[in-house]
Symmetry: none
Amino acid sequence: MELPLQIDKQSGVPLNVQMEQQIRLLIRRGLLKPGDLMPTVRTLAVSLEINSNTVARVYRDLQHSGVLLLKRGIGTFVAENMPPSCGKPVDLESFEPKVAELIAAARQRHLSCVELLQLIEVRWKEISNAHG
Amino acid sequence: MELPLQIDKQSGVPLNVQMEQQIRLLIRRGLLKPGDLMPTVRTLAVSLEINSNTVARVYRDLQHSGVLLLKRGIGTFVAENMPPSCGKPVDLESFEPKVAELIAAARQRHLSCVELLQLIEVRWKEISNAHG
Amino acid sequence: MELPLQIDKQSGVPLNVQMEQQIRLLIRRGLLKPGDLMPTVRTLAVSLEINSNTVARVYRDLQHSGVLLLKRGIGTFVAENMPPSCGKPVDLESFEPKVAELIAAARQRHLSCVELLQLIEVRWKEISNAHG
Amino acid sequence: MELPLQIDKQSGVPLNVQMEQQIRLLIRRGLLKPGDLMPTVRTLAVSLEINSNTVARVYRDLQHSGVLLLKRGIGTFVAENMPPSCGKPVDLESFEPKVAELIAAARQRHLSCVELLQLIEVRWKEISNAHG
DNA sequence: GTGGTCTAGACCACG
DNA sequence: GTGGTCTAGACCACT
């Protein structure tokens, strides 16, 4: 299986952090479901052009968090009993269109991805502070 | 002037990267205008509780990019002739409400800020790849 | 490989500037070629008796200029595709003897190195202004 | 009198060092002779676009070295009895043509001024080390 | 008091 | 082991 991970080596964000967050996100979006077989460490490392040590660390950390389950000699699976800290998979059907819409509006104004993200992050924090 | 920078020391993103991007964003949003006097290195360092070396490096890098102008013994200014790579200041009046709207929808679905950002980043790249 | 850098801590010229210029010069002289592996930050710092932060900054700035390529965990390399601003490597075989000759003449007249440099710099600018 | 000083504010070399060396050089070249009247601090500061404090410091340091002589209310003069550490004015008539020749050769090879200076400085030190 | 350089040393991400 | 970030603090050049 080909995992749709978007890793940016230039962003300054640690590669393992990027991978871990995106895998969690795939699960929340329902694109990875409990029981699914994950790609092997080496496969993923090669396809993302990342050192396999780094991938292995991500898998290990996610297992430690209860998100993944390693079965020696068999493979790595998405855990059946997700810990509550991961949040339940969200119904994003009604949400993702809004995202796509905003992205379209941003591109129309020649905003870059980083700029949009910064804008949202800053506004989020401003709103959070306002709400206490 | 008090610069509204939102720095998150826990995010894993290098502090200088966060600062640099946010300063660029403030300029694009029109909150910082060419010729404006920036806070001093030390002032900003104190108010953000960041080492002054880190702030100085940000200022230095932004000067090297043509975004800021450093005058020794005088102060630091937003450059008058912004390089084209920075993009022109954008009219965000019609855009920011859409952002606020999306943030509200995300919070309603109990998405965290990081998750929303991840979601947008991934969708952005998926869309970019689709459009070629 | 031992890099033949001549750093003068007493000259008043910032160490990073000296290093950066000399590395660029080594490339133009052909003593460093595209793809060459540079000494590690720490090695160079020790051999020049300079703080490793200073060396790292030089490497970082040169990478930013497209002269070097830094690979985390691997090493630092001379960039393959040098930016045009660096100029092409020059054939100095026919030139360096002239330099040595002038240096000999200068020493014969008891000129110091600094004086010779000043003399050349001033004359260069006078000639430049004359030629328009 | 218009002093032909070539000051480069971007070179990283302290302005006072540049000025002091060039004034000393003008004396050695015979373009400034013992007893000559120097421009006033303010005049020189304005014409070079440098803070007058910096110029004043140069004059003060050069007086302290015995190179200049300050007469209050009258002006600043090149000292009549130059200290031996300054070296005697050199006959550069036979030398300057060699310099001009080398500069021409350098320009022909598209070397920049900085590169030529670096080249000479490095070669000078290499030769010094060779000679012991 | 401005920005700038440099040092010393700790810790991190990556291979 | 690689390069990279960050801190703390000293000292310098300039206005």
